[in-house]
């Protein structure tokens, strides 16, 4: 480590330990640390000291309702392999008022880990890494309607609930149309990003809004530029 590098490292060290660097500074610091692992122990030591701040607040008790809600979700997620598709589809039919869902959904194939991993390299670099949590991204499979043919998709939920959609074999749509992602919170669809039909297949698109637990993510065809509310039936859906 050169004197200049050492100086810069020391300059950022304490703010890094406290989580008080900008994203750019943090990336710079972590890159420097990766190149000089001999300083890792010192960093860990100071991060531990800064982490003591977490013990300082006055102790408060969360409500009993929080425990109940949490355990309900945990127990429900334990049965995640048996998704309750009917309620989801019923809700979607209410929301979109369309017939196609009633005809049932076609199971979609899982896009290989490798393919989306490569695709998302660029996307992932834009997201903040959190060294204290080695969280694997969640991968949720989309359910496509029959009219979507062989289309398939996955929703990758990264640390911090940032969502990335990966889809392949999407059906052709007309010129002047785009695919639009929707996040349905309760009964309200909110725009979650656009992706173009002419992108390379498979396509990866960052969502512009973070989906929350229980939200439904849907994809529809919309006029170029997107819509403020869905104007067509969803072609794919999944639920967090």
């Amino acid at each position: 480590m050169s004197d200049a590098e050492r100086g810069r490292f020391d300059e950022l060290l304490d703010a890094y330990a406290l989580g008080a660097l900008s994203d750019e500074e943090r990336r710079e610091f972590e890159k420097n640390l990766t190149e000089h692992p001999q300083r890792q122990a010192e960093v860990d030591d100071l991060v531990a000291v800064a982490g003591l701040m977490a013990l300082a607040p006055v102790e408060l008790e969360p409500s009993s309702g929080l425990r109940k809600r949490l355990m309900r979700t945990v127990r429900a997620s334990g049965a995640a392999s048996e998704p309750t598709r009917r309620p989801l589809f019923n809700r979607l039919r209410d929301l979109f008022g369309y017939q196609a869902l009633a005809a049932g959904a076609a199971a979609v194939a899982l896009i290989g880990l490798l393919s989306w991993n490569v695709l998302l390299q660029g996307e992932l670099q834009n997201f903040r890494s959190q060294p204290t949590v080695d969280a694997e991204p969640r991968v949720l499979e989309f359910q496509a309607v029959k009219s979507a043919g062989s289309a398939s998709g996955e929703l990758i939920v990264l640390e911090g609930q940032q969502g990335v959609l990966v889809a392949k074999d999407m059906p052709r749509i007309k010129e002047g149309q785009v695919w639009q992602i929707w996040i349905i919170e309760g009964n309200e669809p909110k725009p979650g990003g656009l992706f173009q039909p002419d992108q390379e297949d498979p396509v990866a698109a960052s969502m512009t809004r973070s989906p929350g637990e229980g939200d439904i993510v849907a994809i529809t065809v919309e006029p170029a530029g997107g819509s403020s509310a869905p104007t067509s039936d969803p072609i794919m859906t999944t639920q967090l």
């Binding site: 008080a20 030591d45 102790e59 969360p62 929080l66 425990r67 355990m71 945990v74």
Partner: protein, 185 residues
């Protein structure tokens, strides 16, 4: 049963083990979340999100990186900072106003009866800090401000903020070192 065993059981799908972890650490997690978010609903939402992350990502826990409590609290902190930074909320404006006002007396914050010995130690260590150092550590850690932001609204040179961060953290570390106490992990 040790936390590490509960984590392993939770990883294997035991909701009961997860419930035990929640019962052990929800109070600490909520206390930190409330300190950061400043109101009950946001704090509970944050705690719920964090414990769901613990449930889904229990495999990512590494014993060498500290205790389960430290791990849970670090997730609360990271997510809390993310949320604070993603919203230009009134609370942050309010913090700014408070930061420019005379600092509260740390002693007031330490008049509670502490039940947890580690908490006692940490609070004692923080009590030894001069108010201007403690304020900067709090703004950084609990309010999610960057050092540049803190310098801006405290109207201090960035070098001064960095210096106070450094002195504050070193003083806390020295507190434990001079008493031959390990930094609680």
């Amino acid at each position: 049963m040790a936390d590490e065993e509960l984590i392993s059981l939770a990883q294997a799908g035991s909701a009961e083990a997860f419930a035990s972890l929640y019962d052990r650490h929800s109070r600490s997690a909520y206390s930190l979340a409330y300190r950061m978010m400043g109101e009950k609903q946001s704090a509970e939402d944050l705690v719920q999100e964090v414990f769901l992350k613990v449930w889904r990502n229990s495999a990512s826990y590494r014993t060498e990186r500290g205790s389960v409590r430290t791990w849970v609290l670090s997730i609360v902190h990271n997510r809390g900072v993310d949320q604070l930074r993603s919203t230009a909320s009134r609370r942050r404006t309010q913090d700014r106003v408070e930061a420019s006002a005379p600092t509260s007396q740390p002693s007031e914050a330490f008049t509670e009866t502490w039940r947890n010995n580690q908490r006692d130690q940490v609070r004692e260590a923080l009590k030894t800090l001069p108010a201007e150092q403690l304020k900067i550590l709090e703004l950084a850690y609990f309010s999610g401000y960057t050092h540049v932001e803190i310098a801006g609204f405290l109207d201090l040179p960035l070098g001064t903020v960095k210096g106070r961060m450094r002195l504050g953290l070193r003083k806390v570390k020295d507190y434990f070192d001079t008493r031959d106490m390990a930094v609680p992990g």
